[in-house]
């Protein structure tokens, strides 16, 4: 108990609080800028972190990561531009809500869901870290393959009508995802000798091009009067700009389920928040009583991905704190910051001296509260910032998106790709091909291929060949669990009739 108090006292100081506030605010702003992720900003700031005490620097980082996840959903909702990839699923229902003038409601829901997901996974981190980490570590390529395949299956329903156009779009995404080095033999595929293509097409140019820039081109086809008007119209009805208690309560099951999905996925290194957000969205839609409302502005469709992507960020610390393995780049950067500050992170370190651990817990929980408070302020700022004339916003999005996509790799080629994908996306929309399945194919299929082929490679080292997967307890329990879930789904669908497919625009 004394140790806990000692740890908490490290972060319950004025400097730490201030650092968290600055971190959250900076994160929300950076997160809102397409192409700029919090990871990048943190990486750029690391050489300066020597000048801070550890309990100023680290809480600031954590605040930044949490803030950026909410910040990126502001632009995802208002202008269909996910500031970071994690918010791409938020576009699906957030943007339609904003089009209906309910942008304020959607942003608030995103904020509440973010804070909910964050708190959920932080509490899991505090109480079940070592258990979750054990489970996560027992997952190898075989289990990942099953998991991703199931996710793809459940997201396959996200296609539009007519369904074939959604499937074709998804396969186009897969084809783009093939470009780059082969995951197993490392021979170049479809690069045609261009070294810029060797590491594959970046996710950021894909998202910015297909979601944001294509939408910019679409909106330019409005009338002149429309282009002179305000960029985002808010409904004047007070109810449309806030989330009422009954609305929040009806989203509660979705929030809980999505946070759990995010926490589990976050605990496993290598899947990431974008995948979690899409899976949570698919699940929310599948379990909803009104799946037909999804894609047209369902509040649950905003709550699910936002809760899940934030839950990932907390859960990413689980393998870090339990085994010293950073789950993603954000966790790797936090690990780097700890190291620079001379705090050892890992299983042995914390059993010897748990004080820093309690300090981290304290900082995480405070950051959630701060995120809520500053986020509420940010919704007002966003309202002012996006009341500029629409034509200015459209042109500026193109400029800022170019800068953001250049910054990531220092490559002009990426800027040109963004414009190319924007045009391709616009053509697709005009011919009725949805762009979101394309992104899902692009994100998930390379993961599936990589893991599946690793499994096949591994199978050559076992006497029993591919059947070796059945000797893995993790594989057996995962398949059993999924089979159970699937049979429940089938049984419930029998009772209810098939769900409707949905569109993304």
């Amino acid at each position: 108990m004394d140790l806990i108090l000692e740890g908490l006292s490290l972060t319950f100081t004025l400097e730490s609080l201030l650092a968290i506030c600055i971190g959250v605010a900076a994160g929300q702003i950076l997160g809102a800028i397409p192409g700029l992720t919090a990871s990048m900003a943190v990486a750029l700031l690391i050489p300066y972190s020597f000048y801070f005490s550890p309990w100023v620097g680290i809480p600031m980082l954590m605040g930044m990561f949490k803030g950026s996840l909410f910040g990126s959903s502001i632009t995802a909702i208002l202008i269909r531009t996910p500031g970071t990839p994690a918010a791409s699923a938020t576009v699906l229902d957030g943007y339609p809500l904003a089009q209906q003038g309910k942008g304020g409601k959607a942003i608030r829901m995103a904020l509440y869901a973010s804070v909910f997901g964050d708190s959920f996974s932080d509490i899991c981190l505090i109480f079940f870290a070592s258990l979750l980490a054990m489970v996560a570590l027992s997952f190898g390529p075989a289990e990942y393959t099953v998991l991703i395949a199931v996710a793809l299956g459940s997201l396959g329903m996200l296609s539009s009508r007519p369904a074939w156009k959604g499937l074709i779009a998804m396969l186009l995404g897969v084809a783009i995802g093939i470009i780059g080095l082969d995951p197993i033999s490392a021979t170049p595929r479809l690069t045609f000798g261009n070294p810029e293509l060797e590491e594959g097409i970046g996710l950021i140019p894909m998202l910015i091009g297909f979601l944001a820039v294509s939408e910019v081109f679409r909106q330019m086809a409005g009338s002149i009067a429309d282009l002179s008007g305000r960029a985002i119209r808010y409904s004047t009805v007070r109810e449309d700009n806030r989330v009422s208690w009954p609305e929040f309560r009806s989203c509660l099951p979705v929030l809980l389920r999505s946070s759990a999905i995010g926490t589990v996925i976050g605990a496993m290194p290598g899947l990431g928040s974008t995948v979690a957000a899409f899976i949570a969205y698919g699940e929310a839609r599948r379990t909803s009583r009104h799946p037909e409302r999804f894609g047209k502005g369902a509040l649950e469709g905003v709550a699910a991905p936002e809760a899940a992507n934030n839950a990932v960020s907390g859960a990413n610390l689980i393998p870090l704190l339990a085994f010293g393995i950073p789950g993603d780049i954000a966790a790797a950067l936090i690990l780097g910051a700890f190291m620079i500050q001379g705090i050892n992170v890992g299983p042995l370190a914390f059993s010897e001296n748990p004080v820093p651990l309690y300090a981290i817990y304290g900082a995480l929980l405070i950051a959630n509260l701060v995120n809520l408070v500053i986020g509420l302020g940010m919704t007002h700022i966003a309202r002012v910032a996006f009341s500029v004339p629409r034509r200015l916003l459209l042109a500026s999005v193109l400029v800022i998106a170019s800068a953001g996509s250049y910054a990531l790799r220092g490559s002009l080629f990426d800027v040109q790709l963004v414009m190319l994908f924007g045009i391709l996306g616009y053509v697709m929309i005009r011919f009725g091909f949805p762009t979101v399945p394309l992104l899902i194919g692009f994100i998930l299929m390379p993961l599936l291929e990589e893991n599946l082929r690793t499994v096949l490679l591994l199978s050559s080292t076992y006497d029993e060949g591919i059947l070796f997967v059945f000797s893995r307890p993790a594989f057996l329990s995962l398949s059993g669990l999924l089979a159970l879930v699937l049979s429940v789904v089938v049984w419930r669908r029998r009772r209810r009739g098939p769900t409707q497919p949905l569109s993304d625009s």
């Binding site: 070294p195 290194p269 010293g324 393995i325 050559s460």
Partner: protein, 317 residues
Amino acid sequence: MFRLIRFTGLAMAAFLFSQTQLLAAYPEKTITLICPYSAGGGGDTASRMIAKLAGEMMGVNINVENKTGGGATIGIGAVAKAKPDGYTIGFISTSPITIRPHMMKAPYDPLTDLSYIGQFVASSQPLVVLKDGQFKTLTDLVAYGKANPGKLRWSTSVQRGGPHLAVEAMFKAEGIDATYVPFKGGSKVLAALLGGTIDAAMISEGTKATLDGQTRILAEGTPNKNAVAPDAPILTDIGYPIAPAIFFGLAGPAGLPDDVLAKWDDVLAKVVQSEEFKKLAEQRKWTLDFADHKTFTAIVHKDYEAAAKAVASTGMK
């Protein structure tokens, strides 16, 4: 009109003045440091630290530009093509310099297109296995590999990097047929090792994991002793073909003037001695190992030749 002429004259004068100054004392203006790795990784952190500390010492700004892609060959290619005046230099590490050019085409020739400025870090790459696993020594691992062709599963953080080549060459020398399982990045390799998907790994993360009591170090894949396990044999010391230096260093386009190289020898030595850099290296488990431009050039040339032989013998490409 007169004004315009006068202005042009002044500008010309200023330009000439700056040119002569440039000859007098390097550096006179902002230096660009191209980092071929993306923001957030170890190479990027090192570049930014060098830029900050060296910039302070030389009294100029050093801007870090991330130019990634092509397994770091794009950024290094940009360095090789720059004007050799010392104002565009680049961060380099082992594999795009001494290893990868033997396996696939790179937009530069490491022996003729680059001037090597200096090395400041040499990291260690321990070959690790599970602490409580069946392998206690390198001999155990080799014996298992020989007895079970194709069954030994292993990995490194970068496919076709220095450690991959070092272990592959060792297995070749022993006649072991092992299965390389690629993963993206050292932390995923460590997770696979701890989760039992692979049997052995040569990763820099192994040093910390051994400190944490999770792994055991069997051997060291670079010419420097591992700080945590000084008894672990260095691969070349026990007769295996190659243990390439895994370095962080700086390079510029071929033909850098002598005064630029001399200046950097001086500054880089001081940077490596600075408290801030020592602290960073200590925490990242980097071994500080300064080498001036002459020594570094020799290291690179020696490893380049050794890698050429090893690549040919293993048939990697």
